[in-house]
Amino acid sequence: MLGIRNRHDLLELGSRHFIWVVLVLTAVVFGSTIDKYLSVPNITNILITGSVLGVLVIGQALCLMARKLDLSAEGTVSLVAVMAAWLMLPYREQDFAQAGGLGVELDPLIVIPIILLLGAFVGFLNGFMIMKLNMNFFIVTLAMQLVLRGLALAISEGAIMPGTPAAFNWLGGGRVAGIPVSVIATIGLYLVFGFVMSRMQFGRKVYAVGANEDAARASGFSPARTVILVYTASGFLAAMAGWMLLGRLEASVPTLGVGMTLNVVAAAVIGGVSLKGGEGSIIGAFAGVLFLAMVNNALNLMNVDPLWVNAVRGLIILVALIIDAQKSRYRGRAAAPDKAKRAEANQSAALS
């Protein structure tokens, strides 16, 4: 069924499902060495901590598949969290770095659509500038991150705004039949986007545009529209993540999300989403998120000095990347890297 006929197929298969093998190994190793690692409460814990990261990873994975990057998502997380708290909470003079909101005290049911639309709009703006104004995607989303982060700080004046309403917190902190809502929502989003990317027209276009923009255009697709939609989705998902995070903390912290982008990109890449576009799957990205969450959790449970956790996690990411580099090197040899192949083709075509 898997259609393995030779060593190359085996390696191709192995590299495609590499992350799952690693995931199972990780579970076995940690499960057998750490007491209660595979217990229900701990697994729930892993999933809760992975949920916000997981939502962000979906958006980033879409961008990477379209051969782009969204550095602004973490800024969106900060801004929507601050906006939401600001719009919902009663006014209070700032003291001890804590403050209230603007004083309009909007209902969560109004605020939620507002922040989701805001996130989507920011994403749309990114996509528009990149595709319609031909601005560089790296710089656009980098600048956008600075703007959003700054706006979040400016609105909150750097203060923490605690006490968000329960209805709003439901997504991040609520439980249904004992299962955290955030986990259900995240898994739901993965199912939806996994389906969109593998079974729907939009997904097909994203992969095509990411792998070869010119060929995608000649196949009748509009790269501009596709990429703008990808960024819009990424912004929307970042707003979801902000909502979720704020709900879990029940207080807006203006530095929310800072430094997350790097974790998010790492998770997506470990999950097999290529930086060079056109490859990888949403389900793979999910595995990447699980892997990072499991490692984090295990490091906590193993009583690794919390101060060293970051270093160990970074090392693990590094090792994963080195293995990944070897994998693509092998593939490069198997099927001649595009560039060399093209160069040779050009040369012989030009000469003949």
């Binding site: 600048a143 600075l146 750097g158 101060l307 970051n310």
Partner: protein, 357 residues
């Protein structure tokens, strides 16, 4: 050949956009606030962003060769913490070695260089993507900083150690307040000057540009591309260590979070200073302009009592504006080239859409 006049002027302006921004911001703040031009403030502009400036210098180096190093912000933190631990007594949280400050400075620079070497080797010899390697290193190094730290900040360093970051060369007393000529400010200017001379006037520096412009063509010209890239990463690491030294010196303390989340602002400064992430473009002096602009915005908005949180917003918007101008320039140049090509052709003259162009 026949280069159009206006085109050249536009190019010249866009190429030196950063200095227009710097001068514009300087004039604007001078008009908006009478305290901006005070001697105290002018002396402060560079001091406040000395460490930041060294990080920008490190990125300028990697950008020229078409590379990245996101890990420098963590190198800053790690080298500073490393130095602090070697300097102070065990009661103060250190390792109790109390090494001589100059030896400590040397060791932290070596550490920075080794981190760069590691990055460079992974990228060139192992073939890991430069963005991802340095992201991973960013975690590793920040984690190591927390790991070796006692969990809190370490302060009170010997004078010899803090001199570079916190020292004063001269103090000029005026009626409006004191003008302080800081060692750090002078050091940053010197560092950029050395960087400029190195990249502009040495064979190695030009090889860096060649690698960034087209690695294959550079290889064909006999340049050892891997070697150039590795050395550039080492230089970036040493710059980050200097940034750590300046920051720890200015604060007379080292904290595990030092330098955290600076990297994107650093990239912003380098890019608005005319550096390109695709390599082979821009120059160190322009990058210095980026540092100045960021710093002027910082102090200017601060003086005007604008919430400091607007600083990032203004930086981000300026950056967007600069990229937009660049995109427009590319489009304009393409149009000009197309027009010239069309003007040279006699085919299809009845296509009215373009025949008048």
């Amino acid at each position: 050949m026949n280069r159009a006049g206006p085109n050249r002027l536009v190019s010249l302006m866009v190429d030196n956009l950063i200095w227009l921004f710097v001068i514009g911001a300087f004039i604007a703040f001078s008009l908006l606030s009478d305290r901006f031009l005070s001697p105290y403030n002018l002396g402060n502009i560079l001091l406040r962003s000395a460490a930041f400036g060294m990080l920008v210098l490190s990125q300028a180096y990697t950008f020229i060769t078409g590379n990245f190093d996101l890990s420098v912000e963590s190198s800053l933190g790690l080298t500073a913490m490393f130095a602090a631990l070697m300097l102070v007594t065990s009661e103060a949280g250190g390792w109790g070695w109390q090494l001589h400050p100059l030896l400590v400075i040397l060791l932290m620079l070596v550490l920075g260089g080794l981190i760069g070497l590691f990055n460079g080797v992974l990228i060139t010899k192992v073939g890991v993507n430069n963005l991802l390697v340095t992201i991973a290193m960013l975690f590793v190094l920040r984690g190591a900083t927390y790991g070796i730290s006692p969990g809190t900040s370490i302060s009170f360093f010997p004078k010899e150690f803090t001199w570079l970051g916190g020292g004063t060369l001269a103090r000029i007393v005026t009626d409006d307040g004191n003008f302080v000529l800081s060692v750090a400010g002078i050091f940053v200017i010197l560092a950029f000057l050395v960087g400029h001379i190195h990249t502009r006037y040495t064979q190695f520096g030009r090889n860096m540009y060649a690698v960034g412009a087209d690695a294959d063509a550079a290889r064909a010209a006999g340049i050892n591309v891997d070697r150039v890239v590795i050395i550039v990463y080492i230089i970036a690491g040493v710059c980050a260590a200097f940034a750590g030294l300046l920051q720890a010196g200015r604060l007379n303390a080292a904290t595990p979070t030092m330098g955290a989340n600076l990297i994107f602002a650093v990239h912003g400064a380098a890019i608005i200073g005319g550096m390109s992430i695709y390599g082979g473009r821009g120059n160190i002096i322009g990058a210095f302009g980026g540092v100045l602009l960021w710093s002027i915005l910082d102090t200017g908005l601060n003086i005007m009592r604008v919430s400091p949180f607007w600083i990032d917003v203004s930086r981000g918007l300026l950056l967007l504006f600069a990229v937009l101008l660049d995109a427009l320039r590319v489009r304009y140049q393409r149009n000009v080239q197309m027009r010239m090509a069309l003007a040279a052709s006699t085919i299809g003259l009845d296509d009215k859409e373009h025949s008048d162009g």
